[in-house]
């Protein structure tokens, strides 16, 4: 078995995959990739020209959600991280996988602009990011009021994995956590998942 992650340390999408690999305790090799356009060789692996890219022997995958979901399906024999055999849990997990890839893109773009571009992110993109966090906050508030602790089901899943980076890194784009107490709790709990690792922008304490 040989897993290779083409990885940029500062990229929130790559962080999703690093979190999934760590939660599954999977051996892997990381190939560091700089910020900026991908080389032609990497573009051949992912025509979209984006990270993360994962190679599992001959299989090539791209996109944080797709890779995390694949890893959970292939390498978690108990199917806890992606409870795909239960149609209800599967459907609920899919909501948050597509949310992570679509709705939270605004948070990711805002952060990238704030960190690497001369112009600050537009008010519109910040508002879109805050709207997405609000959807998550209302969901986790309802979960708490009905005894739930994670986005889906009774234990952490790939849904929590793909949602964590955007929220934990929101301060990079100037979005504070004080409007999201339920997410703050969830993020604190998330840090206790065995194998949890930080990245630049997420304080390393506790």
């Amino acid at each position: 078995m040989s897993i290779v992650l083409y990885d940029n340390e500062l990229d929130d999408g790559c962080y999703k995959v690093r979190l999934m690999l760590a939660a599954l305790h999977l051996e892997h090799t990381r190939v560091p990739v700089g910020t900026g356009p991908l080389t032609p060789q990497l573009r051949r692996l992912n025509p979209r020209g984006t990270l993360p890219i994962l190679a599992d022997n001959d299989l090539i995958l791209h996109g944080g959600e797709a890779i995390a979901a694949f890893l959970a399906r292939r390498y978690d024999p108990l199917d806890r991280w992606f409870p795909a055999d239960d149609p209800v849990l599967f459907g609920q997990t899919m909501i948050w996988l597509s949310f992570g890839a679509e709705a939270l893109r605004s948070a990711s773009v805002a952060r990238r602009q704030a960190m690497f571009e001369v112009e600050a992110p537009s008010a519109r993109i910040i508002a879109a990011a805050r709207t997405s966090f609000r959807v998550m906050e209302d969901h986790m508030t309802a979960r708490r009021l009905t005894g739930g602790r994670w986005f889906v089901g009774e234990r952490p899943t790939v849904a929590d994995i793909v949602l964590f980076p955007a929220f934990a890194l929101s301060g990079d784009a100037g979005i504070e956590h004080d409007a999201y107490p339920a997410l703050r709790h969830w993020a604190r709990r998330f840090r206790t998942i065995p194998g949890f690792r930080t990245m630049p922008g997420i304080p390393d304490y506790y």
């Binding site: 708490r144 009021l145 004080d178 409007a179 304490y205």
Partner: protein, 229 residues
Amino acid sequence: MTALPPSAWYPVALAADIDPGTANGTRLFDREIVVWRDSASVPHVWEDRCPHRGMRLSLGFVRGDHLACLYHGWQYDADGQCRLIPAHPQMSPPDTIRVPPLASVERLGMLWAHTGVESSGGPPLEERPVRPVRSIAVDCPPEAALSRLGYFSGPTGDDGGSGDWTVAAPAPSLVVVGSGDHAILIGIQPLSTRQCVLHAVIAGPGGDGLRISHWLEEFRLAVEAEAVQ
């Protein structure tokens, strides 16, 4: 709409949302504050600024009854007095290195802080047993939320129709929406002139937290739509 008093007691969090040993940043009228509980569960509200280089203390961590700054590890005791500078462990830090605390108190399931110089007492509200519902951030002036709560119909459902709700404001930043045997207490925290947080708890035996949470989401939708106009 009368403006909120600049010097008064305001809620800064639901008590249940600040776990022992954790620090959380928030704001009162744009002033950055840190709300934290020491490991004995005593709450503290301070200016969110480390005297060393001005970094936010809310990013730091709690060690026993000290709050430690994330950046260079300076530690402050329960009074805000600096007690340890890790780069000079032998030195006892001078009294002048101190984080200004705000007067704070836990009441009605919320943590309150005073924005002025008052040092004792607490908000003039009688304590009673409550259950937390949620905090909800709303993008509208705090005064708008306060006055709109006065005529927003209460949650409907088996435990109370919308017709028999009464609304009272026993303090400038507290609204009590009552019906039958229970009441929803809503503390209003002014983050800035354009944004506020409502902290909601239930008093009395009835009241369904989830339904009240959804009702607050409807309220947010209504008052934000009006704020935009």
